[in-house]
């Protein structure tokens, strides 16, 4: 019984995915996704200061479609890794990421999140958050200016705009 049901769901998924990836529909879905990026508020290091500045009126990334950091992980689809990820924090970051609803995107912000930065040979550091999460956009700098983060968000939006809508894998 289950097998039949699963097969049916599988076929249904494939059909829906075909429909969703028809050009105008895909455009609409992606358009909806890329202008409502909800970032997780997860501060791992000093880059978060610039992240805070980016959401404030002076730089205001909200006008580009990235909403201010919000409380609930279930509503979030963007995680910005704000700097150094220690090994202990890495486990928590993974946990946070796996609780977010898909589609979910990752921006690695700052030299530390990209490659370990000034702590590259520390005993307690992930050399880049891409060791544990699939990163979509890297924003270099130490720390990156809010404009750079905004640029990163724009790049991510471009990526979403051009991408396929994938519902089978949930990513």
């Amino acid at each position: 019984m289950f097998a039949v049901g699963n097969a049916f769901v599988g076929i249904l998924r494939n059909v829906v995915e075909k429909i969703v990836n028809v050009k105008p529909v895909r455009y609409l879905v992606n358009w909806a996704r890329l202008y409502s990026l909800w970032p997780v508020h997860l501060t791992t290091a000093c880059c978060s200061v610039e992240f805070g500045a980016a959401s404030c009126p002076r730089f205001d990334v909200e006008r580009m479609g990235m909403i201010q950091a919000f409380g609930s992980l279930r509503q979030c689809d963007l995680i910005i890794i704000e700097g150094t990820v220690t090994k202990k924090m890495g486990k928590r970051v993974k946990k946070v990421y796996s609780q977010m609803a898909s589609p979910r995107y990752v921006i690695a912000m700052g030299a530390c999140a990209i490659s370990g930065g000034i702590y590259y040979n520390s005993y307690n550091i992930h050399k880049g958050v891409d060791e544990i999460l699939p990163v979509d956009v890297y924003v270099p700098g130490c720390p990156p200016r809010p404009e750079a983060l905004a640029h990163g968000v724009l790049m991510l939006q471009d990526k979403i705009r051009k991408g396929r809508v994938n519902i089978t894998k949930g990513e």
Binding site: T86, K87, K88, K91, N121, Y123, N124
Partner: protein, 162 residues
């Protein structure tokens, strides 16, 4: 209770010398408002209690370890200051406790100053100095699966690429 104006470091040093004599090694004034002294780990609890009761030094700002590899010893440094009701006294007293490098342990001071709880945990995990009678000696900054007997802030701990 002391007040801000009444802090007189030389008087404190003299009083400590009178009371503990040999048991305090060279209490001295490093610069205004900064006293440094070394005590053995056997006496540290008594002296810490005295400091807290007499001079209202009730707040430990930091606990750190120093690794003297050549002299084969660690030194644990407590920076004690005050958050008393008379206002924040400007005096900072550095209480140094040398411990042996082979079997590093000393009594925990949590019973006297609550604020050393996580400082001592940090010193324990990074230097491997055991604090006896600490209520909760668990890892603080290192990941839970950090290997035993590796203490990253010791001088003989090698980082990668070195």
């Amino acid at each position: 209770m002391l007040t801000l104006q009444k802090v007189n470091e030389t008087k404190i040093i003299d009083e400590l010398r009178d009371k503990f004599g040999e048991r305090i090694d060279t209490p001295k004034l490093l610069r205004p408002n900064r006293i440094v002294m070394t005590v053995e780990k056997e006496n540290v609890i008594e002296i810490a209690q005295f400091l807290k009761d007499t001079y209202a030094l009730n707040y430990v700002a930091s606990v750190s370890g120093i690794d003297y590899l050549e002299e084969n010893k660690f030194v644990v440094v407590y920076h004690v200051s005050s958050m008393s009701e008379d206002g924040h006294l400007p005096l900072v007293l550095a209480l140094k406790v040398p411990v042996d490098r082979q079997t590093p342990f000393m009594p925990s001071l949590v019973s006297i100053w609550k604020s050393v709880e996580w400082h001592e945990r940090e010193t324990w995990e990074l230097f491997g100095i055991e604090f006896k009678d600490h209520p909760r000696l668990e890892r603080l900054l290192l990941p839970e699966d950090w290997p035993e007997n590796q203490f990253p802030l010791r001088k003989d701990f090698l980082l990668e690429d070195e």
